[in-house]
């Protein structure tokens, strides 16, 4: 990473830090979305009934179908531009990137009919020397809330840029 790239990256990160820079809203989550997701994840085994059987789900503590925790309500966008999620590569171009880790904090479940809104921001960053040379560790915070403004998930993703 040369000095120009570092200066540009730090400048972009300083401007972006703490500012919510992207917001998007999902389509309403359909039973079929959850059912197909669960079938796909567990294939060729049968998925847990909590994801696919409404009569069974009524008897659980949730009282209705829930989505698996890794369910992504923003999956299958028509174009990639609609799905500009995760670390914003465009914010600091010309640097190689690797995923460093993820910290998820979960709130309420995702139920049928929920509309999820996501927003993201640069939470913090650190420039340090590693065996890769000067390396940026950028923590991106991505928040999901439902239509009642209840927290569904906060994800802190660490991006390693060098």
């Amino acid at each position: 990473m040369n000095k120009d790239d570092i200066d540009k990256a730090i400048n972009a990160l300083d401007k972006a830090k703490g500012e919510w820079y992207r917001e998007r809203t999902s389509f309403p989550v359909d039973f079929s979305d959850i059912r197909r997701w669960a079938i796909g994840v567990y294939w060729p085994e049968s998925p847990p009934k909590i994801f696919v059987n409404q009569d069974y789900a009524k008897k659980t503590r949730w009282g209705k179908i829930i989505a698996p925790r890794e369910f992504n309500p923003f999956a299958w966008p028509v174009t990639a531009n609609e799905s500009n999620g995760g670390l914003d590569i465009g914010l600091i171009p010309h640097l190689r990137s690797m995923a460093g880790g993820t910290n998820d904090i979960y709130g309420t479940q995702i139920y049928i009919g929920n509309v999820i809104t996501e927003r993201s921001r640069v939470s913090e960053y650190k420039l340090t020397n590693t065996r890769l040379g000067q390396t940026l560790f950028v923590i991106n915070e991505s928040e999901w809330v439902n239509q009642d403004k209840e927290l569904v998930r906060t994800r802190f993703s660490t991006g390693v840029r060098y």
């Binding site: 994840v41 847990p48 998820d104």
Partner: protein, 148 residues
């Protein structure tokens, strides 16, 4: 692995849950198709789909997206706690790449059990281990299981 409902009292310190997963190129492509959020990274260097793309990062083979590794371990936890348990936190570090066709052992080790505010809280050390004995993903999870 789809289990019957576990209760807090069923869990013992040191208990380990496990599963296996083969990260085939086909599964990676399916994940990328559903999760087009990764396209910008993929367009940049092709690290998830081609040997040439991976070589730009000094890697010998294409790799799995980090969030796919998270999803794999998330499924293991879901299998342990479903249907009435709840995943509160999942914190994972990506220590090494997972390569296409790696044969992975998934594990979740119970390291703490505590009742907090009438909730049965279980703390787990989670990991993916490849057949070379390396652990590309290591982390912790906090889950809740029904007390009764």
């Amino acid at each position: 692995m789809v289990n019957k409902q576990l209760l807090f009292s069923d869990i013992e310190l040191g208990q380990e849950f496990s599963d296996t997963y083969i990260a085939s190129a086909e599964k990676v492509q399916q994940f990328l198709d559903a999760n087009r959020t990764l396209e910008r990274t993929e367009i940049e260097d092709g690290r998830f789909t081609s040997k040439e793309g991976a070589s730009t990062l000094g890697l010998e083979k294409p790799i799995l997206p980090g969030v796919m590794s998270m999803s794999i371990i998330s499924k293991l936890i879901t299998d342990i706690i479903a249907p009435n348990g709840k995943l509160h936190k999942l914190d994972a570090s990506f220590r090494r790449p997972v390569f296409h066709n790696d044969s992975l052992s998934l594990s979740a080790l119970v390291v703490d059990t505590v009742i907090e505010e009438d909730k049965g809280i279980i703390k787990l050390d989670v990991a993916l281990e490849n057949d070379r004995g390396e652990k590309p993903l290591q982390g912790t999870a906090v889950v809740e299981l029904p007390i009764k």
